[in-house]
């Protein structure tokens, strides 16, 4: 593949056109990916800021940093921002948008203008959310349970609900684009069985986005109508049922967690083979496991409602199904580990994030087994045990996968190398900070500390202090990449086409790629992850 001379200004998607209009009206999937990168990073830091305030308040048992109402808004908005404005879009909208066409050998996604529309919907939703937060906020919890959200809360529920409703369309359109692209725009020779598993993961994620998101959309519409017009659909004093809300809400929100984790798993499945120099162990099973997770993920929603007042028999069924969905996740962990067997392993930053992901996702997933056990769940549901469980998966899993992916593909996206030693340092800081923040919360949960508590009995303090200490370390770990990624855009080493010697069509074009991705449309006649035929990594060039 041609690599440009250092001095000649090669045309890439970054320099093909300059000016704010060329960015705001772009239909290039790569530029849209960067637009998303900026926006979700912004919301990540807002959500993170709320988290820091929460942890600061929880340093002491008394409620002494903020008022109770403020605290309730903090955890609500932390959850809403992190789930809807960071985690759900993150990997699909940034890495997925950038890489899906490249990985399958296409020039762009199937619907480039819809892709841009998707970003604008996200921005509109984000602006509405920001406005809501700045003019009073919302305090219902990200779960919006009725009748509190429809008939009792005095905060801006309607505005927050509408913001999330709009963001849902952004998600749906991204999923729609990916499914059509993967079905219809693969390069010649790129059969389903030769697709990178990152693509399989995004395909599965997109199915969930398409089928699940509309349900939360209509549920939020009903909540908004109920609150505005006092309808009674979820209000028992008017003949309605609050449990109906919970069923409708969790029907989306459970599959939503798979939207958040599957793409990360896809990232890890690209990183591990590359830095073990061998193909993924059990390609077909890993692909199948992604699809299985998407399908079974739709069948388990009421495991969030074991003590909510559902029938005993419903609880039994949902508990059993929840164990079923754990199997494909376990299979992935085993396959990643088996890939390392007899590999040739290096410890680059992406690989460190992959290790971190596997370890933390494993722990988060194992604690899911606790929660699916009915007898245990009665004790630990709605406590810090659940909070720890989902943060292990979403932060220890999804965010680490996201960061690992950002490091892995940064050379491709920006044409620059980030500083490797700082990268490794940040990965270790994140891992250590994360564990210190969230492991104590498992203990707190089993002890009985409920979630969403502004104040708590004094015997819980020591563990809370440990958790807060960890969160400050975690914050440092997250700030570092922000700083050095920006630094690298100016001062980083120029990246070659394939600094890691990785398999995949994206590495067969220049770093950064040209606007239409490939100088010549690729024709594929090799299997995925054929590391036995890929040469060792090139040296990155120095200079600026």
């Amino acid at each position: 593949m041609a690599t440009a001379a250092i001095t000649a200004e090669r045309e890439t998607y970054l320099n093909q056109e300059y000016g704010i209009k060329s960015w705001l009206l772009t239909v290039d999937h790569k530029r849209i990916a960067l637009l998303y990168l900026l926006s979700i990073t912004f919301f990540f830091f807002i959500g993170g800021f709320f988290a820091l305030l929460i942890r600061l308040e929880l340093l002491t048992p008394a409620g002494d940093l903020v008022q109770a109402d403020t605290y309730n808004k903090l955890f609500t908005m932390h959850g809403q921002v992190m789930v809807f404005f960071f985690l759900i879009p993150s990997i699909p909208a940034v890495l997925g948008n950038f890489l899906v066409p490249l990985m399958i050998g296409a020039k762009d996604l199937a619907f480039p203008r819809i892709n841009l529309l998707s970003w604008y919907l996200y921005i509109i939703a984000g602006v509405l959310m920001l406005h809501c937060m700045l003019t009073g906020g919302v305090d219902t919890g990200w779960t919006f349970y009725t009748p509190f959200s429809t008939a009792f809360s005095n905060t801006k529920v309607i505005e927050a609900g509408l913001a999330i409703f709009i963001s849902g369309f952004s998600s749906i359109l991204t999923g729609l684009n990916f499914v059509v692209t993967i079905h219809r725009m693969r390069a010649p020779g790129m059969t389903w069985n030769r697709l990178p598993l990152f693509i399989w993961a995004h395909y599965a994620t997109s199915i969930i986005q398409l089928l699940g998101t509309p349900v939360i959309a209509v549920t939020l519409v009903l909540v908004v109508l109920e609150r505005a017009l006092h309808l009674g659909i979820f209000d028992p004093t008017r003949g309605g049922d609050p449990l109906l809300f919970q069923h409708l809400f969790w029907f989306y929100s459970h599959p939503a967690v798979y939207i958040m984790i599957l793409p990360s798993m896809g990232v890890v499945t690209e990183i591990v083979p590359c830095f073990s120099r061998k193909r993924i162990f059990g390609y077909k099973f890993v692909a199948l496991s992604s699809i299985s997770i998407a399908v079974f993920g739709f069948l388990v929603w009421a495991h969030h409602m074991f003590v909510a007042g559902i029938s005993l028999y419903a609880a039994l069924i949902f508990s059993a199904l929840s164990y079923l969905v754990a199997v494909p996740s376990a299979v992935k962990v085993f396959n990643w580990t088996a890939t390392m067997y007899k590999g040739s392993i290096t410890f680059s930053t992406p690989m460190l994030y992959a290790f971190g992901f596997i370890g933390l996702f494993l722990m988060g997933g194992l604690t899911g087994l606790f929660l699916a056990a009915l007898g245990i769940d009665v004790h630990v549901t709605d406590t810090y045990f659940v909070v720890a469980h989902f943060h292990y998966i979403m932060v220890g899993g999804a965010v680490m996968g996201y960061l690992g992916g950002m490091h892995f593909w940064w050379p491709k996206i920006s044409g620059r190398m980030y500083p490797e030693s700082l990268g490794r340092l940040a990965a270790v800081i994140v891992f250590l900070g994360f564990n210190l923040t969230f492991f104590p919360q498992f203990i707190l949960g089993y002890l009985g500390m409920p979630r969403r508590y502004w104040q708590y009995p004094p015997e819980f303090q020591v563990l809370n202090v440990l958790s807060t200490a960890g969160s400050t370390i975690l914050a440092v770990g997250y700030l570092l990449p922000m700083v050095y990624f920006l630094w690298s855009m100016r001062y980083g080493k120029i990246a070659p086409d394939n600094p890691w010697g990785a398999s995949g069509l994206e590495w067969m074009t220049s770093s950064p790629p040209p606007t239409f991705n490939f100088d010549h449309p690729p024709v594929v006649d090799w299997e995925a992850y054929d590391y036995e035929n890929i040469p060792a990594p090139q040296e990155a060039r120095s200079g600026g």
Binding site: G282, L366, L374, D377, Y453
Partner: protein, 332 residues
Amino acid sequence: MYDTFPLWPARASTTAGSVDALFIFLVILSAMVSVAIFAAIVLFAVRYRRRRGVTAEPIEGSTALEITWSVIPLGIFIVIFLWGAVIYFKERTPPRGATEVYVVAKQWMWKLQHEEGQREINELHVPVGRDVKMILTSQDVIHSFYVPAFRIKQDVLPGRYTTAWFRPTKAGIYHLFCAEYCGSQHSGMIGQVVVLESAQYEAWLSGGAASGSMASSGESIFQQLGCSTCHRSDTQGRGPNLAGLFGKPVQLEDGRVLTADENYIRESILTPGAKIVSGFKPIMPVFQGLVSEEQLNALVAYVKSLNPSSSGAAGSPAAVPSGAKPQETKVQ
């Protein structure tokens, strides 16, 4: 009362032991699996680190291995599921003859009333070794009644009853938390469960309110609201005879057959048109908005007391010392 740095919650109910047993099993299992995977990863990372001249061995996979490590975990999961299900089944099946406590949750306090009539706010006194069944409802939003030491939790809903039960095994004072976010003072909606030895409990009980048992309050309300004009104790009434009704099947005019449980009694008072008993006309007035939650609870307790085998005996206050004899059994 509490350790400054506890790592394990107090164990004070019959359920707590079984829950802890499964939990410890899962902790050990998780530790073993984690250690195994971490060890494998570390081992491979060291043993197979990049070395000059050594290439990776291309391995496609192994269907046998995939099936093995799908089936074995599934088998283990089934065991965990069954174990958890058994515990849950027991937790959701209150034993017969349990003492009943009616709980009304509201933003942001717990109002409890014993069968015998004692009212408590944010505190629940119970004796060691006796089954206690709680019948819970909310006046406003969803709350959740959580006693970590008993390992029980049950969401409390507006507009219907939910139930939970426990049998305390150890005297002491244990946290009561609200575990479903309910607004401003959610974290302030806490209290305590005070488990007393039998004798102390009897003493506490007799020192309580002179208002009479819940069933007898219920009977007064039943008279005051005119229920007895139609619900007579013979077959001549315009409404069904309520004696022996509770817990039995009821045939409705649309053919359905239901069990007359607490929720059925409650609904029949608040929106009688929802379920008409076969053979009767839909003429019962609507009492929604005319009775408070506490009055509803008392009426439910009264209807229960009309069963011939109930501990309260038909229509009369329970045999437990109540306000009827305050002076003799006053607390020491």
